[in-house]
């Protein structure tokens, strides 16, 4: 193997803080999922449910995959080589904003993680959360006001565009603390954004219908695409930090910048479009499940001439 490639692939940064958080989150989720699965199985065997399963098998797969992507983004060569290649840094951001958050949230982590706690803790924390987010709690109203779709969209937008400012970006490469702050804001911004798209718990907002969720997912495409296009078509290096580092794979600073811009522009925007398509398919499945109209309603002369006009 090429020694440079070998060195690049062996550049892992095993961060104890990240490993511990990921292991703790994964353990709580899987433990909670198993407990709820057992309860769900008992209820099914006692015919207390109509076959619906809260703890479906795909949920831990999705959650653990989300954690793996967070781990890859923060500890794999992607992170380490991000200090040499802008394009690697863009892939890392893509994982933190667009891949890990939806995978974590479609697994609906809150109830499963609560059930992963020891009983006394679960009851205490569960009561605490119930007290905070019950209908009359001021905290719920404040949290809801602070996380409306419009505000969340703005937070997401500021984190995406703000960190791509050359000064902020170069500062993140110079300081580990700023770099961690950048990643944290990307991840939290992504979690807030995908919270509305996936409809995961806690559900404190007014019901956000499927069409609203589709529009919300698609609203991320234009700013993401424009930022990617602006970077890809820039006439000179925007992020001067890379001017002094060794070059990999024969990529010049400009080639690398163009590649990074294209990654943000195409695969980055694609993730939101895929989410919108999934939601559209759910919308259409819902339409397909609706019972057909009785013949008397659609076979009248008026309805056949101009369907819907008679209403």
């Amino acid at each position: 193997m090429d020694p440079i490639l070998k060195a690049a692939l062996s550049s892992w940064d095993w961060r104890p803080d990240v490993i511990i958080i990921l292991v703790l989150a994964g353990t709580l989720y899987v433990k909670g999922w198993r407990r709820l699965r057992q309860r769900s199985n008992r209820a099914r065997s006692a015919k207390q449910t109509n076959g619906w399963r809260a703890a479906a098998g795909w949920r831990p797969v999705s959650y653990l995959a989300g954690l793996v992507f967070v781990g890859l983004a923060l500890m794999s060569p992607l992170d380490v080589l991000g200090s040499m290649l802008f394009s690697m840094h863009m892939i890392q951001h893509l994982l933190l904003i667009m891949i890990a958050p939806p995978l974590l949230l479609i697994a609906n982590p809150m109830p499963f993680m609560l059930w992963g706690l020891p009983n006394t803790w679960r009851l205490k924390i569960g009561r605490g959360i119930a007290r905070l987010i019950n209908r009359n709690a001021p905290f719920r109203h404040k949290l809801r006001a602070a996380t409306t779709p419009g505000i969340v969209w703005m937070i997401w937008l500021i984190s995406i565009i703000g960190w791509h400012d050359p000064n902020a970006y170069n500062a993140a490469l110079r300081s580990d603390l700023v770099h961690d702050l950048e990643h944290l804001s990307f991840f939290l911004g992504g979690m807030l954004f995908w919270w509305h798209v996936t409809g995961a718990g806690p559900r404190i907002h007014k019901q956000f219908g499927l069409i609203g969720r589709i529009a919300f997912a698609l609203s991320a495409v234009p700013p993401n695409m424009l930022t990617g296009v602006a970077i890809a078509f820039a006439a000179e290096p925007i992020y001067t930090y890379y001017n002094n580092v060794p070059r990999l794979m024969g990529l010049t600073v400009m080639n690398d910048q163009q590649l990074g811009g294209v990654i943000m522009w195409v695969p980055g925007s694609m993730m939101y479009i895929i989410a919108a398509l999934v939601l559209i398919s759910r919308l259409l499945q819902g339409e397909a499940r609706k019972p057909a109209l009785p013949e008397g309603q659609w076979s009248t002369d008026e309805a056949l001439i101009a369907p819907g006009l008679e209403k």
């Binding site: 060195a7 550049s11 940064d13 803080d17 119930a130 709690a137 905290f139 580990d176 002094n244 060794p246």
Partner: protein, 175 residues
Amino acid sequence: MKRLIVVLALGLLLGGSVPMALAHGGGEIKIGKEPVGPYKMTVWLNPPVPQAGETMHITVGVLAEDDAPLLDAAVFMEMINQANGEIVMSGPATTERSANKLFYEIDFPAPEIGTYEIRLQLTRGDVNGQVAFQTEVETANNTNWLVIGLVGIGLILAAFLYFSSRNVDLQIPDN
């Protein structure tokens, strides 16, 4: 489970105490692509202004003629006190010590307050050359602003939770 939580919490505390400099390299660029024979050297210092006793982290990038990383060179660091010319710290910077195996790195504790020159000697075959830069070492400041900031955020959050949840009748949401 209790034992697991205790172990993880202790691990988290220990993990959090690992010096930042060990994690990622970074720092302020002190020398940018300075020619040494046919090669070039780039040097970063983290933190940019070290304090006495603090861990200093030097990252060195060695670029071949085509700007690709050069991995089989030897890089040796010397830190010289400008006041008396004494070498106060020396040692090899290696790729084995770094998270990014394409860079040469060395960590060492910052010496006492003063002005120092840091020399980095590059050797590869017949090529032998060095780059150097000056740095100040300042008085140790034991204020950990990160911990203070985190504790502050925690207190604000706790106060917010406390005042938000006061005098509320418990009602389990029905949705």
